[in-house]
Amino acid sequence: MESSQLGIQIAYVVAAALFIFGLKLLGSAGTARRGNTLSAIGMLIAIVAALTDQGIVDYRFILGGFVIGGLIGATASRLVQMTAMPEMVALFNGFGGMASLLVGAAAISGAVGTFTLITVVLSILIGGVTFTGSLIAYGKLSETIGSGAVTFKGQQIVNSLIVIGIVASAIMFCLTPSDPVWLYTVIGLSLLFGIMLVIPIGGADMPVVISLLNSYSGLAACAAGFAVNNNILIVAGSLVGASGIILTQIMCKAMNRSLSNVLFSGFTAVSDETVEIEGEVKPISVEDAFYVLEAATNVAIIPGYGMAVAQAQHVVKELCELLEENGCEVNFGIHPVAGRMPGHMNVLLAEADVPYDQLLEMDEINPRMETVDVAIVIGANDVVNPAAREVASSPIYGMPVINVDSARTVFVLKRSMASGFAGIENPLFFKENTRMLFGDAKETIGGLIREFS
């Protein structure tokens, strides 16, 4: 190995160490920012090292790519609203996938041996699926296309045919790499398969999908690493792959569903038998709600995506401060699938200056629920639905939920009586200790704040 090549390899080792150490620091909120910086330094070292490669004779294309990509990335990261983070991550997953597809395809001319050809096909395949899958996920999350599940008769058969087509053309490509037809077939079918994979998945399952696509974008980078024989791509790609898979598992567990169930069945199999719900909905005025809150010593706030839609996180923080001044303990209970991506609620509340040690996970808040005077549900529905515990025929039966109904009183802030994202009835609204605060969440909480001051 010549000395310049050795230098590059050593730089990659340093970069890999920095990535790993950066992820380790992400294990605690106090050190996470430093971890991200370390990871970025690792990336910088890897890029500078790659630029010193002697095979590079023309820097114009590289520079052009950097400038365009860098500008877009920097602008997007400055302008994106925290409510729109799921869309942004979905889109970035897609870009990562497409980059790996391009690297795989461009590496064909230099590819020797069947093993390398197989990895080329894999990077194209995973990259292509990630790209179009992420675009569809982006469309569903930003609601530029309908967020519902798209299913049709014979979908499984069509998908099976696509898979067979991909495998067959991939084999043909590895046998006759000089014939571009098979390459184009693999690319085309992978792109199609990405679309087919995500369209049957409904909006409520999006946290699972973007976690999974996150993982794919890492695996695609990994495969591209094999294709161009580069170990830093393999290390970094597999770290991302592992991260995505773990998040996918957490999301699936939080919905009590298997991954295959999320991917292939959607919520389409909802039984027609309507659940018999007893009791009646009891609305409460803002004024009466205030008297209850004023007397409370322990309040738990359970936010859902509706809080983000109403942009209510800042007034929630204000209410939280007023309650604390009144000598009341306030905690937030965050369900793993609240919001549209893992950890989404936490970021929105952090943006509103809610300290992170006030944000409790479901397993921490549930045992305390019986000592809570008032549980305020803001824009959440399915994650507090007691039907998940009580109604065996409910599509979400068995899903772990935040047991707000064990609190002394439950306030549900809701626009109207429409059912949640998953379209499931919620018996919580009819419980004895539940009071409904109808209207826009931001205005309702604003009203409570005025009562306090």
Binding site: L26, G27, A99, I234, V235, S238, G244, M341, Y356
Partner: protein, 93 residues
């Protein structure tokens, strides 16, 4: 042998990845994902050599496209993650 060597690296990094990510608290899952976006932009390293061949053929253009897309992830991913993590504060801090 090369293939075996690379697969070895793959296996070890996956194990390290699982160990590390399992320790990330749920509070930080969104920054974790956007940070992972940034790391998956590592493809830029593979794309650089393909974009710098000076051939000006299709592969060269594809390399340049990959550099652009991966840089979006790298720059955008790290910057937005930093922006988010800066917002996480402790009580009274």
């Amino acid at each position: 042998m090369e293939a075996v060597f690379l697969t070895f690296i793959l296996m070890l990094s996956i194990f390290v990845g699982f160990e590390l990510i399992n320790k990330v608290p749920a509070t930080l899952h969104t920054p974790l994902m956007s940070g992972a976006n940034a790391i998956s932009g590592i493809t830029v390293v593979g794309a650089i050599s393909l974009a710098g061949t000076g051939q000006q053929d299709l592969a060269n253009w594809m390399g340049a496209g990959a550099v652009a897309l991966a840089s979006i992830n790298v720059i955008g991913g790290y910057m937005v993650t930093d922006r988010m993590l800066a917002m996480f504060k402790k009580r009274g801090g």
